[in-house]
Symmetry: C2
Subunit: 442 residues, 2 copies
């Protein structure tokens, strides 16, 4: 880590292969561009103009094209109307840009038969990502991001510090463009980059190197854990066919930590891990659980897991007679009651009260999707469900697991969060429809 960066450090690359370099024109990608030239690697460059910073964006594009032309490197560029595309998506602008970028890179890779895409991420990016995921709430996997090589993406400089890149750029008298949005758009990352990580680093020499090995250690643990979980899952699985899998509770209970093991297995196949406790506790009552794309049935000594096709995912029906449904680790109870404004206090989270007269049964429960919008109670305008949850500072885990209740095409409420203004009780209400939300462990 103390030696100078040079092309000989790119030993993950192969001179017989051809690469596509993601080339923003910033310090990191300019350094990688020059190292690739210096090392005699075969590559083309690709630059996205997201047209988000007006002239600055265009100047970046010009700068990148100019460097490529001078060096005789082919350069693909494309303009995106990112703001417009984003406005329809319910995502953050950074998310939209990232998706556009990687989608186009992959198209180019296939069309021109590049072996891999190269990005100029370095160790400090990796450390920042570690802390961002830590702050957002995560498990083992979230702490091990940005591997050197995954799928079709290679990050040849991921073990080098930003200061190594800077030293290389200065020594080789390179020019690069500073992206003004870097300093603004991502509050969390910038606060970490500029203030907090340097403070942590000052506490003990060699912080970056130690974080590198921390992340590597965690990554090893994760790889091993994943392999062993797959093996264990196959051992405790009685039946596995299509999207259906039956887990043997008797074998599971013989394990030393059945709850943690079940949670880890469920997490590894994409099911909310906190369901594990409920699944183990409820005895053979035939209780049904829903989580994301999965439907789980606790059936005596078995857990039956069914992956639902996107068609089926369209929802869980709530009929007029339905009294209770388990949703993830929560349970929902439904009740009709004559309207009597004194008796029940709705608090918009545990108890939600609707005007039953306006509901068209069967209702439907489904996860929210990009584009979903409703009129939050007390407002007149529609608002994106995604924006609503973000504004309410609902964390990522909870956000992913939010479910909607629908009547026809209308969103009646975000379960456990807020009802739609059009379905609130009013002077005209005769009967109310009361939804009570309970956590499994209450």
């Amino acid at each position: 880590m103390n030696k100078e960066l040079s092309y000989t450090d790119l030993n993950i690359l192969d001179k017989s292969k051809s690469y596509l370099l993601a080339f923003s024109g910033g310090l990191d990608s300019v350094v990688l561009f020059h190292i690739l030239i210096e090392g005699g690697y075969k590559f083309s460059a690709v630059h996205c103009n997201f047209t988000l910073r007006g002239k600055e964006s265009d100047d970046d594009e010009f700068f990148v094209k100019h460097i490529c032309k001078s060096a005789g490197i082919r350069c693909f560029t494309k303009r995106f109307d990112t703001a417009k595309i984003n406005s329809k998506s319910g995502k953050s602008i950074q998310e939209t840009a990232r998706e556009l970028r990687y989608k186009w890179f992959e198209e180019l890779r296939k069309k021109y038969k590049f072996d891999s895409i190269l990005t100029a991420h370095h160790l400090n990016d990796k450390i920042e990502t570690f802390f961002i995921n830590l702050i957002r709430g995560t498990g083992l996997k979230g702490l091990t991001g940005m591997p050197k090589h995954r799928d079709n993406i290679i990050r040849p400089m991921i073990d080098f510090k930003r200061s190594d890149l800077l030293a290389y750029a200065k020594k080789n008298k390179l020019e690069w463009r500073e992206d003004s949005s870097n300093a603004k758009s991502d509050y969390l990352r910038n606060k970490l980059r500029i203030k907090i990580i340097p403070e942590l680093a000052a506490l003990r020499e060699g912080f970056e190197g130690r974080m590198k090995s921390n992340i590597e250690n965690l990554h090893s643990s994760e790889l091993v854990l994943e392999d062993l979980l797959k093996e264990k899952l196959s051992q405790i699985t009685l039946e596995s066919k299509g999207g259906r899998r039956v887990i043997d509770m008797i074998r599971l209970r013989d394990e030393k930590h059945p709850e943690e093991l079940l949670a880890a297995i469920m997490h590894s196949i994409g099911i909310q891990a906190n369901l594990a406790k409920s699944l183990l506790e409820h005895d053979g009552s035939g209780k049904l659980f829903y989580s994301g794309k999965f439907r789980l049935l606790r059936d005596r000594n078995k857990i039956i897991i069914e992956k639902q096709s996107d068609g089926k995912l369209s929802g869980i029906k709530v009929k007029k007679v339905t009294r209770e449904i388990s949703l993830g680790s929560q349970s929902l109870r439904f009740e009709f009651k004559e309207w009597n404004r004194t008796k029940i206090k709705a608090d918009d989270s545990k108890i939600q009260i609707l005007d039953a007269g306006r509901l068209k049964f069967p209702l439907l429960i489904r996860p929210w999707q990009a584009g979903d919008a409703f009129v939050p109670l007390g407002m007149k305008q529609k608002k994106k469900v995604s924006d609503y949850l973000t504004d309410k500072k609902i964390d990522l885990f909870c956000k992913e697991n939010c479910h909607l209740l629908l009547s026809g095409r209308d969103i009646v409420c975000i379960l456990g969060h807020r009802i739609d203004d059009r379905y609130k009780v009013s002077d005209h209400t005769k009967t109310t429809y009361i939804i009570r939300l309970q956590n499994g462990n209450e």
Copy 2:
């Protein structure tokens, strides 16, 4: 987490049992003391006077005794001459105090048949420990410390924030003692507590709660990983008897990530994990590796691991004819050479040069132990090996794996770090003894 702290939160405790409360007199333990009273739990208190802060220490002791007397709670107190005990140990003063404390607590627990020892650690302590271990360099295990219950220790308040404790203390008009050494003695912890963690917490609401679940998630992964590793180890073990274990390389190589798996297994049984790579790479050469209390032999399709008794651990012999030894992931080469001051440059790390005439063969290699002392090159006084390594900012992992070369009872050098002044080459030297250290992957 938002509700008030009260004795009903101590559901990990049992009114039919009796406890020994570690009672410093600070906010945390005063709050726990009062909650235990409020909840009607059976307990005695124990206070250590480490006599490190003169009158302040004595006042603390008086304060604690006074509270206990008022409440009719038995209180054990003891004075330790901590500074004196520490001066002989080669440890930090905090380390010595902690050892004295827990040793005495455990003696009392056994003598008076307390069921468990209670400490007043809270969520912020746990979060600080997470970051301290992160900064020092760690793996999964280091990030999951301070469980609610381990061995004979229970931490009933570990899920509550310091602010919850403070609110309780204010509401109940409690008095407590501020330990002035808290604010000084542990630079790392205090910097984190006072500055960095609050800054991280300010980045996103609910930071403490999210850190709590991060640590819980990692702890679950660790529990599962440990169980699965034990099972896997038993599957790939051909023979296990006494301190000897034979691992089947053929089965190991069938695994998806053999190196990571072997590293994790070795770590779980207390062997330096970075040996895994060397063990896998060296083919059936019968090469021997040493790591801590273990001796490992790579023998064709087997890895033979022998735990050495403390007697055997006394060392690896280096005879006059010995030319190479593998030590952990490093190799050591030995050579005699006529003294010619121009030819070799010793850099005190990769190459160490000694006056061969002073050495008494066979030499001995062994891990350093508390109390070991030598005269670092260029100095006149003896210095503790432990202090030397700490001053050089050798990280914990490296420190644990440092080995010494001994001639008779003298420490000749800390391998890879520094030679003893008494064994340096001088005008009288005729022959040198040259030690070359190489990492396994160089």
